[in-house]
Symmetry: C2
């Protein structure tokens, strides 16, 4: 019960949904996500911790950077929810703007 409500709570913030949609395209390091969301690094880090705690994402250190990616495991509830999220928000203006922003960032060679 508490695990389920916590899982839903982790999805109840727009910025965390933006992060999950961003990660659908590929694993991203914190600075890339920060650049797209235009939030303080510490804020993004907190959101990532929450999503990781719920089992939606995992992290992996690579050099100086920490890459986050969607997790295929998670808890009892996350697989079904991830499946729904993949289909949802595909036409969302914010999500599309974030994808555009992500493409531009790649060319800018951020954080390296």
């Amino acid at each position: 019960m508490n695990q389920l409500s916590q899982t839903f709570k982790s999805l109840s913030d727009p910025n965390r949904l933006r992060i999950l949609k961003l990660l659908e395209s590929r694993p991203l390091c914190v600075c890339e996500i920060t650049e797209v969301l235009q939030l303080a690094t510490s804020t993004v880090s907190k959101h990532l911790t929450i999503l990781r705690g719920a089992g939606f994402i995992t992290d992996r250190k690579q050099g100086k950077w920490v890459y986050y990616q969607l997790s295929s495991k998670g808890n009892l509830y996350t697989p079904a929810l991830q499946s729904l999220l993949r289909d949802w928000l595909t036409a969302d203006r914010q999500v599309q703007a974030d994808m555009d922003s992500l493409s531009n960032i790649q060319t800018k060679n951020l954080c390296n």
Copy 2:
């Protein structure tokens, strides 16, 4: 985006999940739900307002009482989530205790 995060937020409280699971058995009036959850009436009313706002339930006045029931419509996201919720928490101790409590209340002839 905001609609989706709001929808998840409405499911992020354990007491609201308890209410949704209770309503799977049958439509219930506020006083029945209040008796099972053991919360103040005003608190339960607030939770019901939030669930109705998200589209998970509808209300229907019948005599002095207001009956709430699961909604088949809701928003773009609620049908899939309701389907998941039906399968989830079926073995949850709290949910099972609530169901027992609900059965006992029936015989007690509460609120009338």
